[in-house]
């Protein structure tokens, strides 16, 4: 089924200046026992957002009222560990539409692209500068233009042109689903199977 189209996103950012954030931190395993894709946003970074007694940990950025927006900015090597797509659903369900980092684990990046969450890879210098600016001025806005593959810190930053797989870019721009695409190739798949049997 078609997903939300992604074209231009302009938003403030939430800084997460931690490196090596793995999928067990993004969504702890004890919250994977759901049978639908909804509701995971509640448990995003659960063990950082809440302490053991269930009270909000006011030091964690998601509980800091100064920061908000649809863009998450994370330290390098974001999303390592499990293939659980639930990590992406949690980030998306919470309200983020883009994650910016200098390095993403492969499976996480793939899962993000499959679910309308744009992973943007930027050089470490750009990332560190971005984190510095956001933390200094939480109202700072970023503009992402998927068609141009550009990301720029407003009002007058230098745009950085990021990489993205062309096929995934097309799908995200059109709100297209991989499965609809594959289903359109059924005849080809049938021929492939017949060819293998001979």
């Amino acid at each position: 089924m078609a997903k939300e189209k992604f074209n231009i996103l302009q938003s403030t950012c939430v800084p997460l200046p931690f490196e090596n954030v793995d999928t067990d931190q993004i969504i702890p395993a004890r919250f994977l026992s759901a049978t639908s894709r909804e509701g995971f946003g509640e448990n995003l970074f659960r063990d950082w957002r809440y302490d053991k007694t269930g009270n909000r940990n006011m030091e964690f950025v998601l509980n800091d009222p100064r920061f908000g927006g649809k863009i998450l900015v994370a330290g390098k090597n974001f999303g390592s560990g499990s293939s659980r797509e639930h990590a992406v659903w949690a980030i998306y369900d919470y309200g983020f539409r883009t994650v910016i980092s200098s390095f993403f684990a492969d499976i996480f990046k793939n899962n993000a692209l499959n679910n309308g969450l744009l992973p943007v890879v930027v050089p470490e210098k750009f990332l560190n500068n971005l984190l510095f600016i956001i933390q200094k001025d939480p109202g700072s806005q970023i503009r992402i233009d998927l068609e141009k593959q550009s990301i720029v810190i407003l009002p007058d930053g230098e745009p950085f042109i990021f990489e993205i797989n062309p096929y995934k870019k097309e799908c995200m721009l059109k709100g297209l689903d991989d499965i609809d695409y594959l289903l359109s190739k059924k005849d080809m798949i049938n021929s492939f199977e017949t060819g293998k049997k001979s």
Partner: protein
């Protein structure tokens, strides 16, 4: 003259239905495994689209992540776990998929039962919504983990969209020393190249140390390929592989070996095949390993010291210290002799019969340390049965250990088998991330031999002390 190809290329290329221009390949999947955690939303997707499962006979299901490891004949107490397991059963019924559910004699951890039941065969492409799917690479397959959206793709079309990864060859030369196991090999490699070291690559393992391994030893190696960021890991099939398959009780008698063995013997990388990256390690140098930090790459030889901040680059030092703080360790300290609270033997990494035998052999005639709580979880009902049939359970009981029932259990603690906060657990699993085995749990990854040694002494111990 055709260009020399790697084993990975041979399998991948022969399964490409179409290469999308400037995009991923449409890869046909021979064998699909599913479990209760990553499949429900995929089936919901099929329902919403109003389509059936395309090739139900090519999907095999099991319940493993959420199940209790005691009293499996009683209803699952935890409501969400019970619902997930029930949902899987309902989905399999509705869509005509074979399920080896809880209490079924063929039930177990997905990456244990697939191989032992003969579903995993050389030359296949295999996927599952689980990152340790790389385990099946031990049979010379292209096997990798996928997300739930991709599970839905496979159910709908028996294909998955994947960009073709680069190729890495890791050669282990030399010879394994006494007391060193396949678990130590892969932990050593990850400690050398880090958790991101193989990102973007599919790894082939070769070398005399690898060829000497049993199939179970090979599965342990391939299993943890994901922990260095690799897309998957594989080992070319050889006589060891064919013998293992031939001896499987479930392998069909009428199987025409002559024709197929010829094909299977072609399943190896050509002499001059090019890899994008090659690494070599000397097996002589590998010692029993243990992790000290909060990712699988933070490992040292058991008799070594934790690195100091001098050994760490300045950009890594913040996370290094944070990690040590969580573990209650300090830079430069030795781990030998440190008290341990829990020992866990099990998981898709080390939950097979050889692992349990290794553990039993070490503890035979000795007694579990009084400060240790031990969880011994067989990887499958078949493994459980073999342990009992061979009398290993008596050896374990006499030493103060009890065998539980199969499941993923404490590896990721989705069921009640959680390690309490602050407690140290020597665990034969694959990940030591913060809180993975329970909030605040302190995981020390190790081999079954090292786990057994800790279970007897009650502290981190060099297993070589128990070997003459």
């Amino acid at each position: 003259m055709t260009e020399p190809k790697t084993l990975f290329d041979k399998i991948w290329d022969s399964h490409v239905v179409q290469s999308i221009e400037q995009g991923p390949d449409i890869l046909y999947i021979d064998q699909h495994y599913i479990h209760e955690v990553t499949s429900p939303q995929a089936f919901n997707g099929l329902k919403e689209r109003g389509i059936p499962v395309f090739r139900p006979e090519k999907t095999l299901a099991t319940a493993d992540h959420n199940v209790p490891t005691v009293n499996q004949d009683k209803p699952i107490r935890e409501e969400l776990s019970r619902k997930q397991v029930e949902k899987l059963a309902e989905n399999c019924r509705n869509y005509g998929i074979e399920l080896f559910g809880l209490n079924h004699p063929k039930n177990g951890i997905v990456h244990v039962i697939g191989p032992e039941l003969g579903y995993t065969r050389p030359g296949m492409t295999i996927v599952c919504g689980d990152s340790h799917t790389s385990t099946h690479g031990a049979f010379g397959t292209v096997a990798f983990g996928i997300g739930t959206s991709e599970v839905e793709m496979v159910l709908a079309t028996q294909c998955v969209l994947q960009p073709k990864p680069k190729k890495m060859r890791i050669t282990i030369n030399g010879k394994l020393q006494k007391g060193v196991t396949s678990k130590d090999i892969i932990m050593y490699v990850i400690s050398q190249i880090s958790t991101g070291g193989a990102t973007g690559y599919f790894v082939e393992y070769t070398g005399p140390v690898i060829s000497d391994l049993t199939m179970e030893g090979r599965m342990t190696i391939c299993n943890m390929s994901i922990e260095m960021g690799a897309r998957g890991g594989m080992i070319a099939p050889d006589e060891t592989t064919f013998r293992y398959l031939k001896e499987l009780p479930s392998f069909p008698e009428s199987f025409d070996w002559n024709s197929l063995i010829l094909n299977w013997k072609d399943l190896k990388s050509d002499q001059d095949a090019q890899f994008d990256r090659e690494l070599e390690f000397n097996g002589d140098h590998i010692k029993p390993m243990i992790t000290f930090g909060t990712n699988p790459g933070m490992g040292i030889a058991i008799d070594d010291s934790i690195p100091t901040t001098d050994d760490i680059s300045s950009e890594d030092s913040v996370s290094f210290l944070k990690s040590l703080d969580y573990m209650g360790f300090v830079p430069g300290m030795k781990l030998l002799g440190h008290p341990v609270d829990y020992v866990f033997l099990g998981s898709c990494t080390n939950g097979r019969i050889e692992d349990i035998k290794t553990f039993a052999q070490l503890v035979k005639g000795k007694k579990k340390a009084s400060n240790i709580t031990a969880l011994l979880v067989p990887g499958s009902k078949a493994v459980e049965k073999q342990v009992i049939d061979e009398g290993l359970d008596r050896i374990l009981n006499e030493a103060g250990f009890e065998l539980r029932q199969p499941g993923c259990s404490s590896c990721l603690a989705m069921n009640e088998d959680k390690i309490p906060e602050g407690k140290y657990a020597v665990s034969t699993t694959n990940r030591n991330f913060e809180g993975r085995q329970g909030p605040g749990a302190r995981t020390l990854l190790a081999s079954p031999l090292t786990a057994a040694a800790a279970a007897i002494t009650g502290k981190i111990t060099d297993p070589r002390e128990f070997i003459d």
